[in-house]
Amino acid sequence: MVSFLSNHLLILVMLLNFALLSTGRLSLAVRLATAQGVLLGLLPGILHPLNWHLMVITAGIILVKGVIIPWLLFSAIRAAEIKRETEPFLGFGATLVIGAAVTALAFLYVPRLPLLAAHQGHLFVPASIATLLTGFLLLTTRRKAISQVLGYLILENGIFIFGLLLAEAMPLMVEAGVLLDLLAGTFVMGIVIGHISREFSSLDTSRLSALREK
């Protein structure tokens, strides 16, 4: 039952990856990433018996990924008055095809990994790799600063999925530290985004090109 639930949640997470790759509307993309973060926040609660450590972490993840980070990103979108990701470096169709291909490759590759017997047959590792690579794709193919932050968050989500396999190894303090780093990182990025839009009247990072070797 537990693995049935967790596998279906992870399939949903991967479908959200595809949705993120195919949308150009920034506010929709932020919502999709929020949904992914919250789904992942529920996973530890499904996998492990309930205790206070787990409750703190679940509450923390949902607060950070489901409330604070989306709020930061939405206020950045509002401040910059930008709605769409226009002209990505690689088209939405092409990135979606690549995303599907790397997801398929992740599934093909994982059986070769020396996983613990208890973790074989679960979708954790392929979902982790697929999500990580989706984050990379977003980071490298999108122009808008907000899309790049989203790419970073998705990449972090992919790493988080792998971390679920080690829930016992990770002390509360380290998990809290990782979460805090994510929050602080997004916060600083949000501030910088505000300054980019004021300085360049745009969130197009391809305009950030004054610094290079002549």
């Binding site: 790493i159 080690l166 190894a169 602080a184 610094l211």
Partner: protein, 479 residues
């Protein structure tokens, strides 16, 4: 007691945030840096190779980095007082001063971490606290530099987290209680699964390599160093790189303890080290911006560190000496170049002549810093590079040793015309008077750092040498 060292800068950051006066706030920096260095010295002298069960403890490797960072910060703090109060009264330092102190606290935590999870959190914290410092000048160029730094740094550090997870998974596969405590990891390392260990190393090297600015992950470095104030550049190039490298040393300790085939971690270190040096050599020639020149010089020196780590054994003492020398000399170069920047109101090397005439002390320190970083005796760098080269040949890495020496020569020949062109000759007649002069406040800090490097290069105090020897022993060093 050790917590005091971590909490002191944190309290300072809070106090700095509360102080209203722009003129008084910078005074906090030396006020905290002095006791920080004193306490660091006390703890460093007590550090030894004992196994520790605590999350926070200081071993010789941490002590060496702590001393370097704390000494560098001390002189940067004194420099900052003059810089912020006299030269930059136009800019609010309400963010800069607390961020500097937070960064000091995070760097201290990196040195004390005995748990890889905690180590990761503290390295990530150093990355984030530096971002507002790079953006101090608040213009289009500095925001571009900050954005690149943030994106590459954050993604790099995220990959390092995956590497840490892989390491924890390797302990699970080995059938022991999963742990990330360094001493426990070292004890069970031989039993760890080699496949996961290799994967962990690749991700950790990529992640911390991006933090260090090892080529090809260095692209943020010239931009960030070029746009940040000289004071911040000194801490980036001398402090953050040293902390990032310490993180890499921890990873190396685990790989070394695992035993077996050592090619999978030595080869990438050697290749990235040499590639960083080669890339620096290519971009140092005719570099038209002197802060970017220093950035590529930093790429070169982290390359040398990685190379020495890859060679291992006898080269390790040289590596630790290089870590100290590089950290302190980056202070000399960035602080003195910051002075030149203010006096000439430009970072371009093309129109710049006669720095020695215009600012005899700052120009002289810049020149002396360049010679010291190019391994002229009695600089510490001379000793370190000599030891590294000798040990490359002693271990029959003929090609590596040969390339190392050739690249050092090319880099010196590439940098020398630019630096000499800047300091010699007469200043351009059209140069408007910036009102900037050599003063005790802006000349003494880099001068003291230079003196420290020359002193350590000619006479190494006994306790410090013991630390270096014990540190090298932790990494499998020896004759």
């Amino acid at each position: 007691m050790m917590f005091l060292l971590l909490i002191l800068p944190l309290l300072g950051a809070v106090a700095a945030w509360m102080i209203r006066s722009e003129q008084q706030r910078p005074l906090l920096l030396p006020l905290l840096a002095v006791p920080h260095f004193g306490l660091s010295l006390v703890f460093a002298l007590q550090a030894d190779n004992r196994i520790s069960n605590n999350w926070i403890d200081l071993d010789p490797l941490g002590a060496i980095v702590l001393l370097t960072v704390s000494l560098l910060f001390l002189f940067c703090a004194f420099y900052a007082v003059g810089y912020l109060r006299r030269d930059r009264p136009d800019r609010s330092n309400r963010v800069l001063v607390p961020a500097l102190l937070l960064c000091l606290s995070a760097m201290t935590l990196v040195c004390f971490s005995r748990h890889l999870g905690l180590l990761w959190v503290s390295v990530a914290a150093t990355t984030l606290t530096m971002a507002p410092l790079i953006y101090f000048n608040r213009n289009a160029r500095s925001i571009e530099a900050t954005w690149k730094y943030l994106m590459i740094g954050s993604v790099g550090i995220a990959l390092a987290l995956l590497g840490v997870y892989f390491l924890a998974y390797a302990t699970l596969v080995a059938g022991v209680d999963a742990t990330l405590h360094l001493d426990e990891l070292l004890a069970i390392a031989p039993a760890l699964d080699k496949g996961w260990l290799k994967a962990a190393f690749i991700f950790l090297l990529t992640g911390f390599g991006a933090k260090l600015g090892l080529a090809p992950l260095h692209t943020w470095k010239p931009d960030a160093y070029g746009e940040a104030p000289g004071l911040v550049g000194a801490l980036l190039a001398g402090g953050l790189t040293s902390c990032g490298f310490l993180a890499l040393l921890r990873v190396y300790q685990v790989m070394l303890a695992a035993g077996g085939d050592d090619g999978f971690y030595r080869q990438p270190l050697l290749v990235m080290g040499l590639f960083s040096m080669a890339l620096a050599a290519a971009f140092l020639v005719r570099q038209a911006d002197f802060k970017r020149l220093l950035a590529y010089s930093s790429v070169e020196h982290v390359g040398i560190l990685a190379l020495a780590l890859g060679i291992g054994k006898g080269a390790l003492i040289g590596m630790l000496l290089h870590l100290m020398g590089n950290g302190l000399l980056k202070g000399v170069l960035f602080l003195s170049s910051g002075n030149l920047h203010r006096a000439f109101a430009s970072k371009s090397t093309l129109g710049m002549r006669g720095a020695l005439r215009l600012l005899p002390w700052s120009g002289g320190l810049f020149l002396a810093g360049f010679l010291a970083v190019s391994a002229f005796p009695p600089s510490l760098i001379f000793q370190s590079e000599f030891i590294i080269a000798v040990n490359a040949f002693r271990q029959e890495h003929w090609l590596v040793g040969g390339l190392f020496l050739a690249l050092l020569a090319i880099i010196f020949l590439g940098m020398a015309p630019t630096v000499l062109g800047m300091v010699l000759g007469t200043p351009p007649a059209s140069l408007p008077d910036s009102g900037f002069r050599d003063r005790y406040q802006n000349v003494l800090p880099p001068a003291c750092l230079l003196l420290a490097v020359l002193l350590l290069g000619s006479w190494m105090p006994g306790p410090l040498f013991d630390l270096l020897r014990q540190g090298a022993a932790l990494l499998g060093g020896g004759p």
